[in-house]
């Protein structure tokens, strides 16, 4: 088993470069899962948008009523009233809406003059349009009372408004999955694995093959009494053990993070999917390792290939947010089908019938990629050998 041992000696020599990807993966995985653990709520919660309110108006009962209404319908975020911090907050989506109530607003409004509030928001955003509607509704209703109702004081006006706006429709929430939150996290975890695993396998396999493909070393090895079949199968065994080891490490971590989910049917499917993907990625790494000629090219290819396939296949940015053209390009990579299967597994309400058939088809596609590329590599190697003679 000299070849097998040599394989792992070379891997150990490259442990720094390889472990960077492993450490990045672990840190991000832990940070992500620790980031939020919102309990699954069984009640409907209204989405409230974050608004920054700048009030330059004088105190009045009407204004207090209006601000109370805003407080119920939005999250008021306290920000210092200087243009830069307001604009920064809007740019980085800390607030979605900045509302300025100008001086004399209530007085003019109550006197029936034309008034307006100033808002700043991202153009065409859903949340801003929604906020506009709410504000307009309140003020229009108030105006209607002033025009047609029998309100004599601001108190009466505000209490009528309060009475109207306390009407609320009843909502029932029929959640079909009660584990959606942890499922979403696991989907992210397993999707992210595609990136790290790809980088690790390309780096590992390339580092080893660069050594074994060196022409002097090759000549020496072929001069040994070891049969080629034996030599090659030790190499294959080495790469398989390396890939399985990397895969096992990551899967084990997912059990530590959420063992309940991983022991369920869905968890097992995720494991199956990731195993098939690992094999496919290994076959691609093997292909690349026969094209790469130098160590500096190796890290370039590993970075670009792992990042590139991950970006277009929806590892970092979810597939629903990607454009159609991007996705159709991505469908020529196994990563795309792997991510698609992961998302389907975790979001399915029940694993049966057509959903399960779809998932298994996608997993089979990933496997198909692996086999096809392995075939191409073998043909390539065969031709090379013929040339060499």
């Amino acid at each position: 088993m000299q070849v097998y041992k040599a394989f792992f000696k070379i891997i150990l020599k490259n442990r720094m470069q390889i472990s960077i990807y492993l450490i990045v993966f672990i840190v991000l995985a832990v940070a992500f899962t620790a980031s939020y653990t919102s309990p699954v709520s069984t009640d409907f919660t209204e989405s409230k948008i974050n608004i920054a309110l700048i009030n330059e108006d004088e105190d009045s009962v009407f204004l207090d009523g209006f601000i109370a209404y805003l407080t119920v319908n939005a999250n008021l975020v306290n920000l210092p009233d200087d243009p830069q911090s307001l604009q920064d907050a809007l740019f980085f989506q800390e607030v979605d809406y900045i509302l300025r109530i100008p001086d004399g607003f209530s007085q003019d409004f109550l006197a029936g003059q034309t008034v307006s509030l100033e808002k700043t928001a991202a153009p065409n955003s859903t949340s801003a349009t929604f906020m506009d509607l709410r504000i307009n509704q309140y003020l229009n209703t108030a105006q209607t009372y002033l025009n047609y109702g029998n309100v004599v004081s601001q108190y009466e006006l505000v209490s009528s408004l309060q009475n109207d706006f306390s009407n609320s429709s009843s909502v029932t929430l029929n959640s079909h999955t009660d584990e959606s939150d942890s499922a979403e996290k696991m989907a992210y975890y397993y999707n992210f694995m595609a990136y790290s695993l790809f980088a690790i396998l390309i780096l590992g396999v390339c580092a080893v093959m660069l050594v074994f493909n060196d022409s002097d070393i090759k000549k020496r090895n072929f001069a040994s009494p070891l049969k080629t079949l034996n030599y090659n199968s030790q190499l294959v065994l080495g790469s398989l053990s390396f890939a399985v080891l990397a895969w096992l490490l990551m899967v084990a971590l997912s059990f530590i993070i959420n063992s309940d989910f991983m022991f369920s049917e869905k968890g097992l499917l995720l494991i199956l999917n990731s195993f098939v993907f690992t094999m496919s990625a290994l076959s691609i790494s093997f292909f690349i390792s026969n094209l790469v000629k130098s160590r500096s090219a190796m890290s370039a290819v590993a970075n670009v290939f792992a990042l590139g396939t991950s970006f277009i296949s929806g590892v970092f940015v979810e597939q629903v947010y990607l454009g159609d053209t991007v996705l159709s390009i991505a469908s020529f990579t196994p990563t795309y089908w792997y991510v698609k299967a992961n998302n389907a597994i975790t979001s399915a309400s029940s694993l049966s019938g057509s959903t399960l058939t779809d998932i298994l088809t996608w997993i089979a596609l990933v496997l198909g990629f692996g086999i096809a590329i392995l075939g191409v590599t073998l043909v390539l190697l065969k031709n090379r050998k013929v040339e060499a003679r």
């Binding site: 509607l133 009372y145 429709s169 370039a300 670009v304 990042l307």
Partner: protein
């Protein structure tokens, strides 16, 4: 001598495939990936009609009135259906909610979200308007004939939009700004290489150069100038790629943008030279430190997660001023977003300060070194 060395260094750097890959090709690839992954995100927040199923009751007149109100809002794609079918649609995520229209309309949803909230608030509004109408008509029965309904169907617009900034907020552009910052700092590869090739204890070329009867300062300056020239060309190419192919919006202040690119490039080169001269380890470690610190600084300016930049500027502002990558990013951001230039100039001045510190440190380390033997 100065020009001789300058032109040869240009050739050497240009032919160094590894350096060219990391400074030019890698940022272009990463930029294309950002583009592919993020180009759709800007449109996600745009409003699209909400899919809604409605289950009606038996009263024909009430139904028509209610349906008319729903249709008028122009917010929903409506499916009229039976109760069972509606729930099937909801389970398959074909609709965001079901309205069971009866004496008191009721809403069924499968999750909490903005679309569900909009449906709910529509229903709330329906109830609230009814309540207002009831109150007013009870108090003042004549109101109906004097245009009460019109005030609901033709509401006044009370909110006006003001845009105090130069351009609209667009979190996507920040990713590309950090990308340029990263590319600028990757110019450190070139600075690092130049120091290695003129220092006698770092490379054999360095030993050869030191033996030559040439002024060390001259050689140093011409080498660094060559690295800076290449780095500026690289950044210019990257900018052209971003602006003409990926259509990233940088605003329209060309001169200021060029200044930022130039200062950013110089910062990158002097940063690399600084690492090369201060860190006394083999070249691999220096490159590791260069890549690692550049990545860390890019991360802190929001290259992976856009909110990081904001969070840091709010909670640890000092860190955002001590991070050259963030200063470069913030300069582009300020040019894109702010109508005045005070923030831009603060960033540029701080970058210049960094340059002076890096260059001075480098100068004090590499000057007056003599070796009897190596």
């Amino acid at each position: 001598m100065f020009l001789h060395n300058y032109f040869y260094r240009l050739k050497c750097i240009f032919r160094d495939r590894q350096a060219m890959f990391w400074t030019l090709v890698f940022p272009i690839i990463l930029g294309s990936l950002f583009y592919l992954a993020l180009s759709n995100i800007g449109n996600i927040d745009n409003f699209e009609k909400i899919n809604l199923a409605i289950v009606l009751n038996s009263d024909e007149a009430e139904n028509t009135a209610f349906l008319e109100t729903v249709t008028e809002t122009d917010l929903f794609n409506i499916t009229e259906t039976s109760k069972d079918q509606a729930h099937e649609l909801l389970n398959d995520n074909q609709v965001d909610g079901i309205i069971l229209f009866d004496q008191n309309p009721e809403l069924s949803v499968s999750q909490s979200g903005i679309n569900q909230t909009i449906i709910k608030s529509f229903l709330d509004q329906y109830l609230q308007v009814s309540s207002t109408l009831n109150t007013i008509i009870t108090d003042n029965p004549q109101a109906l004939s004097s245009g009460l309904i019109d005030s609901f169907t033709d509401p006044t617009e009370y909110v006006t939009e003001v845009t105090p900034t130069r351009n609209n907020p667009d979190p996507v552009v920040n990713y590309f700004y950090t990308l340029i910052a990263m590319a600028c700092l990757y110019g450190g590869f070139l600075g690092l290489k130049e120091i290695t090739t003129i220092q006698a204890d770092l490379s054999t070329e360095g030993a050869r150069v030191s033996v030559a009867p040439a002024n060390k300062l001259k050689i140093f300056l011409s080498s660094i100038l060559a690295a800076t020239t290449i780095q500026m060309v690289v950044i210019a190419l990257l900018m052209c790629f971003l602006v003409f192919f990926l259509k990233v919006n940088f605003g329209d202040q060309l001169v200021y943008i060029a200044i930022t690119c130039a200062i950013g490039s110089i910062t990158g080169v002097s940063f690399g030279a600084f690492i090369a001269s201060v860190v006394k380890r083999e070249e691999g470690v220096k490159i590791g430190i260069l890549i690692g610190s550049t990545m860390a600084m890019s991360f802190l300016s929001g290259m992976m997660v856009e909110n990081i930049k904001y969070t840091i500027s709010q909670n640890m502002p000092i860190l955002s001023y001590l991070n050259p990558a963030n200063l470069i990013t913030d300069s582009f951001y300020a040019l894109y977003y702010y109508p005045d230039h005070s923030r831009f100039f603060t960033n540029i001045l701080l970058l210049c300060a960094f340059n002076i510190v890096f260059s001075t440190m480098t100068f004090f380390v590499i000057r007056r070194q003599k070796y009897a033997s190596l």
